[in-house]
């Protein structure tokens, strides 16, 4: 799955939790979920659960800790998909 395709699939998962719409519109690789999109850190577990469901993968705790920005999240999803 290409990076672009993953991001397109990721956007609607993240959107309900976003508190900064402007930053969400201008999403880049380095966009941080907490500091840029103002997502409540408690909600990161909900995003990870939704990613697991949408991509049919399982994300371990170590990987989850790194999923704080777009770039890392895409990389982890790619890695998990490749491992299947």
């Amino acid at each position: 799955m290409t990076k672009e395709a993953i991001i397109e699939k990721l956007k609607p998962i993240v959107q309900p939790f976003v508190k900064n719409e402007e930053a969400f519109k201008n999403l880049t690789d380095t966009t941080d979920f907490i500091t840029d999109l103002n997502i409540n850190s408690a909600n990161l577990v909900d995003i990870v659960l939704d990613i697991e469901e949408a991509f049919h993968i399982e994300i371990d705790n170590e990987s989850m800790e790194k999923m704080l920005n777009v770039e890392n999240t895409v990389a982890i999803i790619q890695k998990k998909l490749a491992a299947q």
Partner: protein
């Protein structure tokens, strides 16, 4: 010198009316909110009738964001937040997002359990080794203080934000706790009240104790029969009631509408000694509680115009009436008017005291006594104590100066409040 405390806002989510207008209409006209619940029949409950407020998806969205409603399944928090926010608005207070906490305003909002449906879902997941899939809101929905936490966050309350719990006395106790906090000068406004979850997982334990009626599954509206000779147990119910208590000076400064004054109150326990047990009240404690509430309020027993009783429609109703006659030293035709909201909405458990207090305050503000339905056959033991005319079966229009409200709960706990016309 204690500060005077008045009620400046009310909110209600009851089985027979959501919002003040619908609820006031219902209680004036003796409209029942009790219905047959097919789910209780399917689950083989003895009592298959109950009271549940009907909250549409549209109403929900006026109080909660889409994000908050994700995986949200806590009827108690739903009812509590709606009642609380309505009371706040009714008091003319702002709902806009404040950047700073409102240090002078707090909430004590009671509950018996929280998010029992969410708790059930979580237990199934945990037992299926799915703990990591619980999501982020199980704690907030199932912690006992879930309801006050949601309310506090929505209103930006910066004073005490807490939940009390004392079985069926919970709602009455929450009001007393808020009253005392303002009297003592520790807050200017306290949003008080209580809520109860709805559904089989909250009602099942009572059904198992055989304290709910099983004789009215075919006639739900006739099922809740406080003070009746044919009363055969209470009808389980749910909902929430909320009151904004405010320091008199603050209310006058704001030019707020004043519904009534709370003159005083008392809570105590019979210690499960004497004839008191986990489930039965010690009459000495009940009478002491009522007398202490009057003393706290500086009110003579003869000044009481009406009583809003606990009166659940079990065999204990006659004992409650006897306790009132003893505590007030008034009987026969000299007994005050007495009514039970439970005849219309059943027993709201932890929510009962606050829903019934909202009804009590509406009676004082609008000058009426709501009817007792389903007691055309008053219990003979009650008629030995008080005159039948003190038990209205039709609404009475009457200016009320002082009304007493009491609640009694498991654990042998008691609460009594004295409301007064302002």
């Amino acid at each position: 010198m204690k500060k005077r405390v008045v009620i400046t806002g009310l909110g209600i989510v009851a089985p027979n009316g959501i919002g003040l207008e619908a609820f006031t209409h219902a209680i004036k006209n003796g409209i029942s909110g009790i219905e047959f619940h097919p789910e209780l029949e399917r689950l083989k409950f003895s009592c298959q009738i109950a009271g549940t407020p009907k909250i549409s998806e549209e109403i929900k969205r006026n109080y909660f964001s889409e994000l908050e409603l994700r995986s949200f399944n806590s009827s108690g928090i739903l009812y509590g937040v709606i009642a609380a926010l309505d009371a706040w608005k009714d008091a003319g207070l702002t709902l806009e997002n404040n950047d700073q906490p409102d240090w002078d305003s707090g909430t004590i909002f009671g509950s018996g359990t929280s998010g029992i449906e969410t708790f059930r879902e979580a237990i199934y997941k945990i037992d299926a080794f799915q703990t990591r899939r619980l999501g982020s809101t199980v704690v907030a929905q199932t912690m006992a203080s879930g309801v006050s936490a949601y309310i506090g966050g929505k209103l930006g309350l910066g004073n005490q934000v807490s939940t009390n719990s004392s079985a069926c006395t919970t709602g009455t106790e929450s009001i007393l706790l808020g009253l005392e906090r303002i009297q003592n000068g520790k807050a200017k406004r306290m949003l008080v009240g209580s809520t109860s979850d709805s559904g089989p997982y909250i009602w099942g334990g009572f059904d198992a104790m055989r304290v709910c009626t099983f004789k009215h599954n075919n006639a739900p509206e006739n099922g809740s029969r406080p003070m009746s000779a044919s009363a055969s147990g209470f009808v389980p119910s749910s909902g929430a009631g909320a009151l904004v208590l405010e320091e008199l000076e603050s209310a006058l400064d704001r030019g707020a509408k004043i519904y009534a004054e709370i003159s005083g109150g008392n809570v105590n326990s019979g210690g499960q000694r004497g004839t008191g047990t986990m489930t039965a009240p010690n009459p000495i404690a009940v009478q002491k509680c009522i007398r202490a509430a009057l003393e706290d309020a500086g009110i003579h027993p003869n000044e009481i115009d009406a009583i809003n009783g606990h009166l659940t429609a079990t065999s204990k109703d006659a004992l409650e009436i006897e306790n009132w006659t003893q505590a007030l030293q008034r009987k026969g035709i000299h007994f005050p008017y007495i009514n039970s909201l439970k005849s219309m909405i059943g027993h709201g458990l932890s929510a009962s005291g606050s829903m019934e207090s909202v009804a009590t305050v509406l009676q004082i503000y609008y000058g009426f006594i709501f009817p007792n339905i389903n007691c055309e056959d008053v219990h003979p033991n009650i008629l030995e104590l008080i005159d039948e005319n003190t038990i209205p079966k039709q609404m009475i229009k009457k200016s009320l100066n002082v009304v007493a409200k009491a609640s009694f709960g498991f654990g042998d706990v008691n609460g009594c409040l004295i409301f007064k016309k302002y």
